[in-house]
Symmetry: C2
Subunit: 432 residues, 2 copies
Amino acid sequence: MSSIIKPRVLKGFRDFLPENELERKSITTKLEKIFENFGFVPIDTPALEYTEVLLGKGGGETDKQVYNFRDSGKRDVSMRFDLTVPFARYISQHLDELYLPFKRYHIAKVWRGENTQRGRYREFTQCDFDIVGVDSPSSDFEIMLMMQNSLSALDVSDVTIRFSHRGIFNRMLETLSLSDKTVEVLRIVDKIGKIGEVKVVELLEEITSTNNAVKILDFIKPGKNFRETLDKMIFLSGGESEDTKRLEEIYSYILENGIEKMFLLDPSITRGLDYYTGLVYETFLNELPEIGSVCSGGRYNNLASLYTKTELPGVGASIGLDRLLAGLEVLGKKSNNKSLTQVLIMVLDDKLIGHYHKLATQMRKKDINVEVFPIKKKIPQQFKYAENKTIPFVVFCGEDEAKKSQINLKNISTKENYDGLTINEACELILK
Amino acid sequence: MSSIIKPRVLKGFRDFLPENELERKSITTKLEKIFENFGFVPIDTPALEYTEVLLGKGGGETDKQVYNFRDSGKRDVSMRFDLTVPFARYISQHLDELYLPFKRYHIAKVWRGENTQRGRYREFTQCDFDIVGVDSPSSDFEIMLMMQNSLSALDVSDVTIRFSHRGIFNRMLETLSLSDKTVEVLRIVDKIGKIGEVKVVELLEEITSTNNAVKILDFIKPGKNFRETLDKMIFLSGGESEDTKRLEEIYSYILENGIEKMFLLDPSITRGLDYYTGLVYETFLNELPEIGSVCSGGRYNNLASLYTKTELPGVGASIGLDRLLAGLEVLGKKSNNKSLTQVLIMVLDDKLIGHYHKLATQMRKKDINVEVFPIKKKIPQQFKYAENKTIPFVVFCGEDEAKKSQINLKNISTKENYDGLTINEACELILK
């Protein structure tokens, strides 16, 4: 006999039990519905790509988080670590087969060999949606509207979508002659939620004057309302410009659509990355802001400069499914269905098995999820199975009932019995 | 300026354009619906696992098809190459959290570094469904019923599900004293569809007597009907037994459910693998048998002997999504939707953009997929976009209409115009 191998998964990787996978599927189905509602189309790309394509020339040596190896044909390959880089490659490669503006969504797993932490995994799911090929306030706004609609569809309406404009932030840094330190300032400002104002000023003072540090802090603190915040941003960035006008336009759409309660102009939102050039967004659960942004994104000037000379401006956002699920669980909004089965047909008599399957087919035609217990066992064992799968109804049918084309139905939770029903009567009761 | 990296994918890997991804999603959604209809629950497992877990001890050196490497923590890891091995590991690991019998489905990508051929890819999707923890004719039959229901749901009803029993085949080999050559015989018999009877006898003669070769050929040729085939199988395998009784029982269920036209007892079906021990199935499109089986499976004695001492008999099948899609395309059953959008709201006036988004929201509440063109452009360019995405309706709304809360609707294919509609009137027309 060969020895047993211990069944286990890699650190940072997860199995999904049925109740968790059902929950994930229910969420992605709702998101897909919203994305399609807004006219976005799905795409998919390979899990594995040339390392050069994903990381750029020479990137292979540097990025330790990427799962990178040589395949049996000695190609240097990597597993995708996000959905943005593959999308940039995809749109460059297929521009002739596509059209602009192009609105796509992509829900898929990505892999990063990061240090694992609570809620951080090495395999996780991203849900990205982007509008590429156009730079307009309408598309900036549409992404915000989709963020709001997506979260509402998941029964998470109590959220704040915080937004700002990276162009205004950059102009503010220019007035302070700090453009060459943009990356450092961004990294510090991005931490304000975690480390607080005092610490931010201290860190800023390490790279610039106290006067500048205080001005930056002043800039990133929201005012009492949209107008006041924007006026301060205009003042501290050297006056009105295209970027401030863009914010005004977008805010007028927000007002016209009556959704201003969920949106907050917050100049501390910068997304930390040099990548963004225009609008930036982050979304926080009001009851659970500490888990961080569950949906973030922004506008970028040029998505695919690595692969094509065609300029492709875009705007988009990404929902962090794993973080969102963790949040829903804490808020008690996680469903705990072990299955979607509505009826279990109990096996009372081996000779009736063909008949049981026929009954099941008839009920399935009424769009009811039905299963036949797969073998004759003692009734309590069959009941236990229904309980394990949270199945609400069981059907009993013996020889007498079969002859009369009848069944007996039991509602497990109320313990009510309905005897001598026709199939149609039973289906009506179940669907109620 | 950095030089451009040529956008490309690895050999055997594919991008999915929106029309293809929509088609795949539509198919997997229909399959999931059927699986849930039968009470099956979804699970998921990691893309990456310990090589030892996937390939057994020492398997790492031998299997060249598997994408195998050392991660940055020096662990020997592999990408999953099927969904059966991870399922065996999963059920062994989580037996305490689950229950038996356990009916799961799993739709996911798998990776194999095979030589690429027409319709063969290095990344492809499997759709597996299995009933584990029970050995009963009812569950053997249920899998067959699901195969039939799944294909019908995909509008592929003109199929033949060929089935047989590996136990009877093994008994036949025993009567010829050929049990020690089971694997070789299976490999030859499995090729009959491709190479024909004469060649099969020739190959068999290389490993046994002409007399035996002819007897094997006699065994694997179906008779005129179920009864005649089964009688011959009984005769050539040394008499009736549990296995022949099982076939009779299953056929009685098939008859009782009135689906005998789609099922054929075909003793040449063996699935080639030593793995199966009971029922075996393959499914062929009647109009396109040459593409091979689109849904295959069978019964195995012991799923998870590598990981646990608990005996887990099971039965299941797998739909080859990529092969099935190729078949649907040849049969002209592939849909060619570029999107699911039903309405494009044209941008006539920049000042109305907030209003356009409000209109879109109102229509989306009626479950209509609507998009707002993201920027003001010339009308023909906006029309071209609707054409590219096969959007059937466009909405025009200028300042006058906005003031009167009206819109003008155009059906692109019929060229009909409906002017001065309320939103509700427009929605009714679109939903018709």
